[in-house]
């Protein structure tokens, strides 16, 4: 009768290959070396388990892999670069093959980077691979974060991994900044100059901080070797450590999956590591590396020879950091100058400190706290392995867009001078636009996203209740016309109705039935208000009875031919013939059982 009555929803179809095939004859072939290792490590059990692990297929699950592989490409190409790069601010006079710099005094760091670019065979391609991979690493980390956020993958049990991911993302931008400052060219040196200004703006300790980091007055000779140590040793070590933890947790908790037929909170549906994901993920490393190599082959990045060596007196128009530091730079550009105060003869430069020192910790702090805040508001303490379709969590999706828009305003503000010349606008107008936009645009994004999510949900309901328009016009005996709607097949329908109906937490009465005031009522009130905000206007999925009613009582033009239906409920002869009652014996059992 029903598909699922024959076997559990997360079970296999008839004819599907069982997950663990019997031991094969191949074990003998592998026996030699593997046996030697297993004799000494007993790794066969663990390796066998890992090789059978199942990964679900979805393009958005590869964003994290793009990040991982870009990072590996960075590590590989970075090791190459260390063989030629000289992390020293010592002065040299250039006599290499790049004519426009002949005889110019520069630092060892700059000279060696120019040397890599022009006089080491294939050096430029490695440099460009390294820089493009770094940009793609942080692009992919960000895109991966968006995916995880908007699908709710950060929910229990993955909060720890979300926090680790946030730290990884923050470290990645620091690592990027450190690396991009190393060549000591005019542009990156200007960036370091600004960074020194940021440090000076720290209340009370600013000048000490700057002198400690730069070993005296800016620029000094210490900053390049120190950044080098940070860039090639300190941060990579932490990055790799945290990244390993990140991956181990993914393996331990198994990958999340998008909702769909056969997918439940208790299973993972996909392909095993051996052979499918070994080939797909392994192959994808080569694809990512190859794509980055292609970009590096044809698109120039960071032409340090054109910027010239660093010198505190010159500067170039369009002085921007790499894109991932853009948001902090943009924040500085749009902060009004009245944020600097004189207090009893001391200077408090919040016009700098807010954007340069506070923004990054605050932004990442908010991101890291979000899973815990959402959990408190929704009161949802269960494990979640099925992802939310973003539309089914309208408030979260809208909050995410609010945050993204805020970030975007900061980031685009960092390009205000480029926007000005490319679009022939006034830099002052653009800056004012971003200053107001910082407050207005995120609200618009929030409101619009939420409305879009809700209408998409209603659209889903419509689709389930009334099927999709078939384009076939039927003429009735009475002379009327209607368009036949064809029903959804149960697999398609399931994706649209699988999410849980939700409701805001109701405020319990402030006094209990005996008239005694409850303690902590204020906290509860706040929580109820937030919960109401979170679940307001919620559109719940179609229930079987609603669908039955739509088919039975619907207007004629909505009527769906009984034979077009294959779902158990509609396929039920009684239901199709219009009865509201289903035989008691059919005992429909919702997946997963009841709440506890």
């Amino acid at each position: 009768m029903t598909t699922s009555a024959a076997r559990p929803a997360d079970g296999l179809r008839a004819g599907d290959v069982p997950a663990s095939p019997p031991p094969s004859a191949g074990s003998k072939k592998l026996g030699g070396v593997a046996g030697w290792v297993d004799d000494r490590t007993g790794a066969a059990g663990g390796v066998g388990y890992l090789m059978k692990k199942v990964f679900p297929d979805h393009w958005s699950f590869m964003l994290g892999e793009i990040a991982m592989y870009s990072m590996i490409v960075c590590l590989l190409s970075g090791v190459f670069l260390t063989f030629w790069f000289v992390p020293s601010a010592g002065e040299v006079v250039y006599h290499g093959s790049y004519a426009p710099l002949q005889g110019v005094t520069m630092s060892d760091a700059y000279a060696s980077t120019v040397h890599i670019s022009f006089d080491i065979r294939g050096g430029l391609i490695i440099r460009q691979i390294h820089h493009w991979a770094a940009l793609m690493f942080i692009v992919a980390v960000s895109a991966h974060m968006f995916r995880v956020f908007f699908t709710g993958a950060f929910r229990k049990p993955r909060e720890i991994n979300w926090v680790i991911g946030c730290i990884l993302s923050m470290l990645a931008i620091v690592e990027g900044f450190a690396g991009y400052s190393l060549p000591d060219d005019l542009l990156s040196g200007t960036g370091l100059r600004a960074a020194e200004g940021f440090m000076q703006s720290a209340p009370i300790i600013g000048s000490y901080l700057a002198y400690f980091v730069f070993d005296g007055p800016f620029p000094g000779e210490a900053i390049i070797p120190r950044l080098y140590s940070v860039h090639v040793l300190l941060i990579p070590a932490i990055l790799i450590g945290l990244f390993t933890a990140h991956i181990v947790l993914v393996a331990l908790q198994k990958h999340t999956q998008f909702p769909g037929p056969g997918r439940t909170n208790d299973n993972v549906v996909g392909y095993p590591v051996m052979p499918v994901y070994a080939a797909k993920a392994g192959g994808f490393f080569f694809i990512v590396f190859g794509a980055i190599a292609l970009m590096a082959a044809l698109v120039q990045i960071n032409p340090i020879w054109a910027y010239g060596p660093y010198d505190p007196s010159p500067v170039t128009a369009g002085s921007q950091p790499d894109w991932y530091m853009g948001f902090a730079d943009g924040a500085l550009r749009i902060t009004p100058n009245w944020f600097e105060f004189d207090i009893l003869g001391f200077t408090l430069s919040l016009n700098i400190a807010l954007g340069a020192l506070l923004l990054i910790p605050v932004m990442y702090g908010v991101a890291m706290a979000y899973p815990f805040v959402e959990r408190w508001i929704t009161g949802d303490t269960r494990e979640h392995h099925l992802l939310d379709r973003p539309r089914n969590a309208p408030t979260r999706t809208a909050l995410g867009m609010w945050a993204l828009t805020t970030y975007g305003v900061f980031m685009f503000a960092a390009g205000n001078d480029i926007i000005a010349i490319k679009f022939g606008m006034s830099i002052n107008d653009i800056t004012h636009f971003f200053q107001f936009g910082l407050f207005i645009l995120p609200l618009i994004a929030f409101w619009a996203t939420r409305r879009i999510c809700l209408s998409l949900q209603r659209h889903d309901r419509e689709k389930v209740l009334h099927g999709r328009e078939s384009g076939t016009i039927i003429r009735t005996a009475q002379g009327g016309y209607f368009e036949r709607h064809s029903g959804l097949d149960p697999y398609e329908q399931w994706t649209l109705v699988q999410h849980e109906p939700v409701a805001p937490i109701e405020l319990e009465p402030a006094v209990d039935e005996n008239g005694v005031a409850r303690p902590a009522a204020r906290k509860d009130r706040l929580r109820a208000r937030l919960s109401h905000f979170y679940f307001r206007d919620v559109v719940n999925p179609v229930t079987p009875s609603e669908l039955a009613a739509a088919h039975h009582d619907g207007q004629q033009h909505e009527a769906i031919e009984a034979q077009a239906l294959s779902h158990s409920i509609e396929a039920d002869p009684e239901s199709a013939s219009g009865s509201m009652h289903v035989e008691e014996g059919s005992e429909p059992e919702p997946t997963g059982g009841h709440g506890h």
């Binding site: 065979r121 505190p312 001391f346 849980e500 009613a549 739509a550």
Partner: protein, 375 residues
Amino acid sequence: MSDHDTPGGEVARTDGEFGATAVRLDEGHVIGDGGLPDRFENPGLEPHQQRMSDQSEAGAKRAEKQVAALFSLSIIGTIVFVVAYFALDAHAYVFIPGIGDMDYSNAVLGTALAFSLLGIGLGAVHWAKTLMPDEEIVEMRHPMRSSDAARQGVVDTMLDGAEGSQINRRPLIKYTLGGALGLFAIPLGLQLVGGLGPLPKNGLSLTYWNGPIGPDGKPHFKPLRLMRDPENTAIKVSDVTVGSVFHVQPEGLLDMDSGVLEAKAKASVLLMRLPPDTITSRKEIAWGHDGIVAYSKICTHVGCPVGLYEQNTHHLLCPCHQSTFDVTDDCRVIFGPAKRPLPQLKIAVDDEGYLIATQPFREAVGPSFWERGSA
């Protein structure tokens, strides 16, 4: 609801019981639920669709050839790379449509490397997609939580261990250990922080214009000529015509053997000549010479060089964060995040007609810092 519910619980429904579900009345025209369940059932996996390579051996053969072709592409890419590495002139250029002239070896080596890598990647993925099993495997999940017994076991082990160590019965050990662990990082931290750099003292407030530091630790001012940067030639007052801008370093700075960049980072100056009647600040007129004025080139925001002088509007713009200074009004900030005006350098003309600084900057140049006002 406990904190460790098992996965899979379809809870948080509006109502847990059949028959009492509040069904919306505005959609579906229904009252009551007719005894139907309040959730749909998961229909299970979709039927498996066979691929071309599953349906016929010819399809599979074709897929095999495609995969092999991609792997061969990789081999060719590798060979091209090796040949090009030795054969190509490192400084030859090639014209590529849409890009223009570019380094020949970079284009060839990079593209060959890209094909060498992409061939393997695309081949492997295509192989996985067309020939490897494409029927989904289902793996079951288990709650992350350990069993109560396991949890209790850990707690017991820890408590037993603590008991065995007698830490709770020997407060002397407990507190001294706490103290020792709390303090041991101090020497390491102290060494690091203490050794990182010197104390700033008044370093941020002094520039090369203040003159060399004498044995008494104080700078000894002597008037310095204004020199062109980077030519390092002195500037005659007659050289500076209206509308001109000169990038200036103090006399002697560019001749130093070391510390040039550190000195430049504070001492760089911009020299401009405006029609005298456009200047509104009396101090500015007094510290200048016949419309010639000198200002610090280091932005009071975060220290970028404020080099963009618009001679028709007499505005100075910083390219980093767009702080704009009005040179006609003592470099007051008229736009952007900088708060303070650029410090002015008082200049005069010496006997030979060259411009000199008659006093150092009267305040710290460059970005703000906490004790700026007191230095």
